[in-house]
Amino acid sequence: MGILEVQNVNKSFGGLKALQNVNLNVEEGMIHAIIGPNGAGKSTLLNCFVGKLIPDTGTVMFDGHSLLGKKPHEINQTGVSRVFQTPEIFGDLTVFENVMIPCFAKRDGSFRMHAIEKVEAEVDIRDKAEQMLIDVDMIDKKEMNANSLSRGDKRRLEMAMCLAQDPKLLLLDEPTAGMARADTNNTIDLLAKIQGQRDITMAVIEHDMHVVFSLAQKISVLAQGTVIVEDLPENIKGHPKVQEAYLGGAH
């Protein structure tokens, strides 16, 4: 029984069938990688999990509840957080404020009219946000403007923001895209550390095979909108279907 169960999901854009009968089963506590060539439908699939897109047919169940038709903030409140391909952070706010916002969202829900309370007096929120920054080694950049961070730091900040919500499922869309080797390795270590400490289920979309094979406990290969193989990492590398999908075998 997986924490995220996707059954027969179809999604078309006009005449283009982006997803065809996709089945996916992410088991609790695992790092599950979704790989595939460009245009395979990986990001479309992820967008169906977070409420950005609604599948034409099929079901997406998270933790026993359907995610279909729910708005992004409702889905997030059930325990799904997402890290974007290009870091989505609150650029004009400080690093610390960036992390406090998800802490508030976790504690107070999707809306609360707390206009007379003071941010300064919210001790538990501040403590938690500080702890998150310590966890991702960014406490020294606490008062910096988030826009002035390096790309790698922005990604770490975004991860801290997602983790501050104690999600049950963390979705990562190419967490190392455009990163230098050293930063990539840092990110791998960070993700491994998080998973070891918190036992969070993660679904990762990734191009970098180094990252995939360092982290993933299970891999689904997506090609032309369908899952062609779902297996353990050691069985994926030599799989003929996978090689065909990547190298463009005869059709």
Binding site: V50, K71, P72, H73, N76, Q77, S81, R82, F84, E88, I89, F90, G91, D92, L93, E97, M100, I101, P102, F104, A105, K106, D108, G109, S110, F111, R112, M113, H114, A115, I116, E117, K118, V119, E120, E122, I125, E143, M161, Q165
Partner: protein, 397 residues
Amino acid sequence: MLGLNKKDSKFLLIVIALTVCTPILLQPFPEGSGLAQFNAGYPDLMQRFAIYGIFAIGFNILFGLTGYLSFGHAAFLGVGSYSVVWMYKLLDYNVIWGLPLAIITSGLFALAIGYVSLRRSGIYFSILTLAFAQMSFNVAYSVLTPLTNGETGLQVYTSDKQILLGANEPNSPHLFGLVMNQSAKLNVGDWVFTFNIGYYFCAVIAILAFYLSLRIFRSPFGLMLKAVKCNQQRMNYTGLNSRPYTLAAFVISGMYAGLAGGLLASMDPLAGAERMQWTASGEVVLMTILGGTGTLMGPVLGAGFIKYFENIFSKINETVLHSWFSWLPDGMEDAIVWVLHFFVGKGWHLTLGMLFMLIVIFLPGGLVDGASRIREWYKNRKGGGAASSETSTTPAE
């Protein structure tokens, strides 16, 4: 103090001190001197500073924090004014009835307009609010004549019931007998200072309004509004519903506008449809941008700046210009006066427009940005650059 930290308390105290001393500060030139026409310490204008300050503070809660640019806030100003005048007509001239009603009706009005307009963002939101405000203006101007008295404007007639009106009650707006248009004059040498009851009434409310906006800026709610401006996508994917936050900000700023409109009618018991016109909505946008969007003090400064120009520059005419340049040779005097007369009197908008362009181009953060740059430059000069790294990290208030 009052739930503020040390820095904010100091800031609030400075604002209070400046507001209380306004009648003195705005009267720097002795009466009868050539510069006396630049004095702004007369009741009418000071009341406007305070009232439009409130309007701009409220507008800044929406525009400065959430980034939603409303082009229809004058509608709430008008609704506030009509509410207050109706209370004069039905009850009596005590403003205590009208002002709460102004806040409530404008709040409800803002709730309805905001609920529809906030379905869109960016330029579409601005156009929707503009459309609503123009609709309100036209409805007030012609359709709802029984309620608004059309183009004549709503005012109190002797035939009005005024059921609470006592025998000795003043027949102009007052607060429990404190008549708004009464003033005390103080002569110090050649200087004349006017202390007006209406101004101080507006000033007390303006300080309360400023304090409330300060609290909102420092609250978790304020942080969420800033998050809306920064990145709504991230906000939604962080489990926060941006719609009620923006709607709450819209309603709060609409209530501020209603209060300002109510105060306008408290100073002068009239309400006309032109108060709702789009030029009035545009004016508050100019005030906020000119002063400094998203800063606490900026909108108030912007409001003061524009109202000062409107009242002082528009009074300078060709005769005044001739008297200034009479020391020049005749031909030159005429030439200079000919050039300058475009920028004063009826042409004061030209001066304001040019200043607005200069500020937007060279000081995108508005007057507050300019002030903090001057402060920084001064500190650098004094401290030999040692303090520069420290000052540059503190954002302008």
